[in-house]
Amino acid sequence: MKQGALLDVISLKKHFQGPRKGFGGRAVVRAVDDVSFSIARGETLSIVGESGCGKSTLGRTVLGLMAPTEGAVWFDGWRLDGLARQQLRKIRRHFQVVFQDPMSSLSPRMRVKDIIAEPLHNFGLASGKGNIEGRVAELLDMVSLPRDAMGRFAHEFSGGQRQRISIARALASNPSLIVCDEAVSALDVSVKAQIVNLLSSLQKKLNMSLLFISHDLAIVEHLTHRVAVMYLGVIVEIGDRELIFSRPKHPYTRALISSVPVATPGGKSNRIVLTGDVPSPINPPAGCRFHTRCPVVFDRCKVEEPKLRSVGSDRRMVACHLEGVSENQ
């Protein structure tokens, strides 16, 4: 385990059984295929990538909501994969999750105070009506919801407010890590900014780590410390925010960043438009998985899979055969 790391994910694989293929059994969907990274205390790592790249599966596997096919997940000294359910349950209070759609992740039948108090009961963190209500009120304050929200139901709130309820619930057990799976993607622009600011300030105040899973590159750049770019189940580039966004090296990272429409009229000139779609993770291309769409592909890419390795400094790793992926571009 790395020095000072809160979460250490080592060679994690998550494969699913795919559709039947003739008499030969089932195909294998390689949703996450050998992914390693770590998160320090108080740090935000964002996982970015397009739909189907495995970023949500990765988040769920890290949380122990799915058992990994191979590999290890170390969290604060515990090895999570392979832990018995009972033990995992006890440790769960230290890592919580906020999902994309607050309407389907909040019970429609529970009052807000019961939703937020549920982790307190589950983990035995508070007892007695007064104590619990006090803690719930404190949590509502932290996410800037009025105290009278306690007696109401989730459907009485707008999308942004529901997401605040989800965050309050995640914070209830004082976790050291929160996984945000597309936590702001479903929100309107003006509300999205509120929730992004809330997450950033809570993180600083409580010194939590965040694993922020998103496809929205501009939001990610705004709030993260480090970024991992995923493509078809593997990390193709990982490193510090400034390096990745100002000088992306992997051809996929470059295309991804250049594809984002910029809100400045006439501001974009050098867009790299990739041809085709993301291939299926059932039969990922041999060699480098990106070679079918890569604008700078060459022979070696089609046969040999590039490994992640440090480039320039140890603050960035890239998986691409084009070494010397020109420093100045």
Binding site: G160, N197, L217, E221, V262
Partner: protein, 329 residues
């Protein structure tokens, strides 16, 4: 040439609790060949406005008043037969979710050819030939093969291309695109945006682009209308909207978008501008400016008198009592 002239359009829904107004009298014009973006958050009335242009709202339940003059004729007075002739031929529409707007039991080729057969007196073979040419134009690889396939066999980006092909096969004078790229991944979104620009240049159709993404607006539109709570609050050329936003809501909206490059720019680490509060629900409509409760410039007049649109510059109108202060701030 003036193509579409919408005058004082009011839309309300009949509900069990009485009429619910959703659009409170908006007027706008679209010139031939022009791209106009309608920007707003959920509940602003932008999609309803788009649907009403083609009279796609369920009519007994909605009340539409005003005039929709298309090439000088009021579509609101047109018969259903006339509307069927207009839809798909003179005005066509691209919807956000291609999976739910394509027919799952017809092949792609049949669906595109259907649109041709409905509007033109051509043979079946000629209709299919036109469909095929359109598939080539929207950049679908192996178009002959794709003609025989069903929507579920295509990826999201390909489905959106098919939708685009279907909308454009009759070379409409006006194309309404309702969030055409919202459901797509960024690299695919870049492809579709390029495609729309290219087709517009080739076919000369005017486009009404409904979106909440200011990046897409900057890339495609010439003129922008900002909507809030069923009203047009600001309209200007795309350059003016970004350079001199004059409605506090527009200013807030532009400030709330995180931009790429934020980590290395002068604003690194600063929180996003928030618009406090939430978008009002349709039922909350009271008197005065709908944005007043969330506005930093609001004074007593804002809660009493609904501001009218006023011209502040050539081709720049804004509905705000304090636009001068807002622009200066």
């Amino acid at each position: 040439m003036l193509l579409l002239d919408v005058r004082d359009l009011r839309i309300s829904f009949a509900t069990s609790r009485g009429l619910l107004p959703a659009v409170h009298g908006i007027s706008f014009q679209v010139m031939a060949g022009e791209t106009v973006a309608i920007v707003g958050e959920s509940g602003s009335g932008k999609s309803i406005t788009a649907l009403s242009l083609l009279r796609l709202l369920k009519e007994p339940d909605t009340r539409i008043v005003g005039e929709i003059l298309f090439k000088g004729n009021d579509l609101l007075q047109a018969s259903q037969t006339r509307m069927r002739a207009v839809r798909g031929d003179e005005i066509s529409m691209i919807f956000q979710e291609p999976m739910s707007s394509l027919n799952p039991v017809l092949t792609v080729g049949d669906q595109i050819a259907e649109s041709v057969s409905l509007h033109k007196t051509v043979s079946r073979a000629e209709a299919r030939a036109q469909a095929l040419r359109m598939l080539v134009q929207v950049g679908i690889p192996a178009p002959e093969q794709r003609m025989k396939e069903y929507p579920h066999q295509l990826s999201g980006g390909m489905r959106q291309r098919v939708m685009t092909a279907m909308a454009l096969v009759c070379e409409p004078a006006l194309l309404i695109a309702d969030e055409p790229t919202t459901a797509l991944d960024v690299t695919v979104q870049a492809q579709i945006l390029d495609l729309m620009r290219e087709l517009k240049a080739r076919l000369g159709s005017a486009i009404i682009l409904i979106t909440h993404d200011m990046g897409v607006v900057a890339e495609l539109a010439q003129r922008v209308m900002i909507m809030y709570a069923g009203r047009k609050v600001e309209e200007a050329s795309v350059a003016d909207i970004f350079a001199r936003p004059s409605h506090p809501y527009t200013i807030g909206l532009l400030g709330a978008i995180p931009r790429l490059g934020s980590s290395s720019g002068p604003d690194a680490g600063k929180p996003l501008t928030e618009i406090p509060g939430v978008v009002p629900s349709l039922r909350e409509a009271g008197k005065g400016c709908a944005f007043a409760p969330r506005c930093t410039f609001a004074s007593s007049i804002c809660f009493e008198v609904t501001p009218l649109l006023k011209v502040i510059d050539a081709d720049h109108t804004v509905a705000c009592h304090h636009s001068r202060e807002a622009l200066a701030a």
